[in-house]
C-alpha cells in the first residue's frame, strides 16, 4: 500500500490537501475562514484532476511546428478551467453573502450567529 501510494504521490498529496481544507471547514469559527477551507478543498480536487492528465515526459498539448508526442491529456485541463471559473463565481457570491451577514448581525463568528437565533 505504501509503495503504491509512493508511485501516486501527486494524488496522495491532493487527498492530504483536501483533508486540510476539511479541517478548516469543520473547526474554524469564522465564516470567511470556513470558506477559505472550502476553497482549499476545491483546489485539492482541481490538483487531483489535473494530475490525472499528466503523462510521463509529456509536452503541453499544443500542436504546431516542432511539437512531438507524447502530449499531456488536454481534457482534465479543459474541465478544470471550467471548474476554476465556477469556483470564482461561487466564491464571489459567498463573500457577498458574508458581507450581508456582517451588516445584518454585526458578526461573522458561527457560534455567535447560532446564539443569535
Amino acid at each position: 500500500m505504501i509503495d503504491l501510494l509512493w508511485t501516486n504521490l501527486d494524488y496522495a498529496a491532493s487527498v492530504i490537501l483536501f483533508c486540510i481544507g476539511l479541517y478548516c471547514v469543520v473547526t474554524k469559527n469564522n465564516l470567511i475562514k470556513k470558506f477559505i477551507g472550502l476553497n482549499i478543498m476545491e483546489t485539492a480536487v482541481f490538483a487531483f484532476i489535473v494530475a490525472l492528465g499528466v503523462v510521463e515526459g509529456g509536452d503541453a498539448p499544443i500542436m504546431g511546428v516542432g511539437a512531438s508526442a507524447p502530449f499531456t491529456n488536454p481534457i482534465p485541463q479543459a474541465l478544470i478551467l471550467t471548474g476554476i471559473v465556477v469556483a470564482v463565481s461561487t466564491t464571489s457570491i459567498a463573500l457577498s453573502l458574508i458581507i450581508r451577514i456582517y451588516q445584518h448581525c454585526g458578526t461573522i463568528e458561527a457560534d455567535e450567529l447560532r446564539e443569535m437565533e
Partner: protein, 239 residues
C-alpha cells in the same frame, strides 16, 4: 472531545481516499484509461477539426462549446447575484451610515512606482495571452484574470474613484455581457451557416473562419470576465 471527533472525521475521510488513490493507475502512465480514449482522438484530430493548435482551446471552445457557453453564463449570473445580495436591500440599513467610510491606508512609494512601471507591460501580456490562446498556452479566461488583477492592483494604488473613472459604468455595463454575447453570436452564426447552434466550420477550406470565431470568443471571454471580476471587486469594496 470535540478535537477527538474532528481527528476521527479526518481519518475516516482520509483512509478510504488514500486507499482509492493507491489503486489508481500509476501517475503519468501513458496507458491509463483517461488518456487512451477521447483524449487520444482529440490530440490526433483536434488541430485539423477544430481550428486551433492548442488542443485545450479546441476542447473548451469547440468540442465542449456548449459547456463553456453555459459557464460564461455562470460568471455573468454570479455578478447578478452579487448585485442582488449587496445592492438589493441597501436602504433602511442604519449600520451602513454609522461605519467609517473608506479608510484608505497609505500606499508605499515603492509599491506605487513599481505598479505604475509594470502596468503597461501587464496589460500587453494580458492582450497577448488572450489573442494567442489558440496557438500558445492561455486564452480568454487566463487573459481576463490578468486584466482583472491589473485592475485590482491599480485600484489599490490610485484609489477606487480614479480606477473606476478609467472604465465608466456606461461602457462597463456593455462589457459585462461581452462573453455570453460573443458566444451567442458565434453560435447563431453557426446556426445560420451550418444548421446547428455553435457548429464550427469543419472543412479544410473554412478553417480560417473557425480560427477567427475562436479568437472572437476568446476576446469576448477575456474582456467580459475581466469586467465582471473588476465590478464584483468594486461592489464588495463599497460595503
Amino acid at each position: 472531545m470535540k478535537r477527538a471527533l474532528t481527528v476521527l472525521l479526518l481519518v475516516v475521510v482520509a483512509i478510504p481516499l488514500l486507499y482509492a488513490v493507491a489503486q489508481l493507475p500509476p501517475h503519468g502512465s501513458p496507458t491509463s484509461p483517461a488518456y487512451t480514449h477521447v483524449s487520444a482522438y482529440y490530440l490526433e484530430h483536434g488541430p485539423e477539426e477544430a481550428g486551433a493548435e492548442n488542443v485545450v482551446t479546441d476542447v473548451i471552445l469547440n468540442y465542449r462549446g456548449f459547456d463553456t457557453n453555459g459557464e460564461v453564463t455562470v460568471i455573468f449570473t454570479s455578478l447578478a447575484a452579487v448585485f442582488a445580495v449587496l445592492l438589493g436591500s441597501r436602504k433602511g440599513d442604519e449600520r451602513l451610515s454609522e461605519e467609517p467610510t473608506a479608510h484608505q491606508s497609505p500606499v508605499s512609494d515603492v509599491v506605487s512606482f513599481i505598479v505604475r512601471l509594470l502596468a503597461p507591460f501587464i496589460a500587453m501580456f494580458a492582450i497577448y495571452v488572450i489573442l494567442n490562446g489558440h496557438i500558445s498556452p492561455g486564452g480568454g479566461f487566463q487573459g481576463g484574470a490578468i486584466i482583472a488583477a491589473l485592475v485590482i492592483v491599480t485600484t489599490i494604488i490610485v484609489g477606487r474613484k480614479q480606477a473606476e473613472a478609467m472604465v465608466p459604468i456606461r461602457i462597463r455595463r456593455v462589457l459585462h455581457v461581452a462573453a455570453p454575447l460573443a458566444f451567442v453570436s458565434v453560435g447563431i452564426a453557426g446556426l445560420i451557416m451550418f444548421g446547428n447552434y455553435l457548429e464550427f466550420p469543419k472543412t479544410e477550406s473554412l478553417m480560417w473562419l473557425a480560427t477567427i470565431w475562436l479568437i472572437i470568443v476568446e476576446i469576448g471571454i477575456g474582456v467580459g470576465g475581466a469586467a465582471i471580476v473588476a465590478t464584483i471587486y468594486w461592489t464588495m469594496g463599497d460595503e
